[in-house]
Amino acid sequence: MARASDWSNGHNVTDSGSGSSNFGLDRPTSASSSAEPAEEEAEVLAEGAVLDLTADETRLKVEAALATLDNELIGLAPVKQRVREIAALLLVDRARQQFGLTSSRPTLHMSFTGGPGTGKTTVALRMAEILHVMGYIRTAKVHTVTRDDLVGQFIGHTAPKTKEAIARAAGGILFIDEAYYLFRPENERDYGQEVIEILLQEMENERASMVVIFAGYPDRMDTFFSANPGLSSRVPHHIAFDDYSHDELSHIAELMVAGENFRFDDEGRDAFDEYLALRMELPRFSNARSVRNAVERCRLRQARRLVELRRPLDKSDLITLTATDVRGSSLFDDAVPQPPEDSDGSRSDNGD
């Protein structure tokens, strides 16, 4: 936790009474939990020593964070693989430090590319947790920004705005959503380029313990990175989020419904699967987000159905989503898929 400790010295002033030469002020080397020995002061392990990584308590915490990632997110095998690799890299890096082997701090700036609703933001949150546990960043905080938060409206407005965003994300993750909007080749006076330059400068900075994640849709992110080779070369980790398959989506729906304390009955589940198949064919399908919206509308129809029953309700009435609730969707009205404006998967599905 060397990084995490850098600023924490104010809290345990009395811990290091030994350093009398500095007025009893704790030097920045002592870790935030005073029981843990300071990394810089920790003695270097002997040449022949053996380090058991499985016994490392940080590893256990990382394992816990990775387990939540596994349980919370369906599919996304390549993403999980990559996150595990990064965690392993940091773990080995720590072990190397304990042997006194110095190496430069690994750069962990990332780009997340994937369609809408594939879990980029959720993975960023988990990533913050993992990096924090590993001591790579000081807080497990994700500061999400879009173009509006970075680009100013007039000359000289952009730099302070960008620096402010960087200051707020300090010690955590700066998550730039829809990052390709920063680059507008059609307008050469666009201030987005200035943002990119400031970000580059900050990303180069060894001392800043901030991780920048660029997120966006794959095709446009490719153009974005190819237009900014300097940026691309400073982002070593490109993680692609694939669209979900039908099975994964129905699994996700199952989890979502359970999370809201509802459940599908058997016909309801079949109907929802059918609904998904239809919805996936339509344009502007946004994966898990569309599923969430569909579930929300099922709840709406269930509520209407229950009110119209005009009889006392029991618990199972309240938690069951039936086939009627699902088939109320206008997607089922006619077999021919309509343009989304007319269909049930209309406005709320598309923009958000």
């Binding site: 850098d6 600023w7 924490s8 010295n9 104010g10 500095n22 007025f23 002020l25 920045p28 000081r138 807080t139 905080k141 302070p160 620096k163 402010e164 960087i166 200051a167 707020r168 300090a170 010690g171 955590g172 800043a208 313990s209 901030m210």
Partner: protein, 141 residues
Amino acid sequence: MKLRYGALSYLPDLTDDEIGAQVRYALAKGWPVSIEYTDDPHPRNIYWELWGLPMFDLDEPDGVLAEINACRSTFPQRYIRVLAYDASLGRQTTAMHFLVHRPTDEPGFQLIRTEGADRRQTYGVASYATGAPAGRRYGAS
């Protein structure tokens, strides 16, 4: 003569890490932090120039340190202090302030005796540096 001004002023000059720790303390208390500079070190001079705007909504001191460094490089020969303002009802005042930068050469203060009626004597102090007009004190800057 080393100017002793603000909190922590009888400690050795704070390192950046120590400044960061103090700023972190202020931010954790919810006090917005601002940076001010001056070339008039008189102890009664409370109105220093504000560097940028007060910094709101921060959690980590990195941004403040970046601004301190920007101010230092712009005004290497001024006094720079960091203030934390407590806006909570009933306090609404500066909760702490301390020096983070000083000019390389501090000439100190002159004791001025003024004789009044009936040989009554009043005292004052004036920095030797303030002999020059503002902006031209402490050498270069």
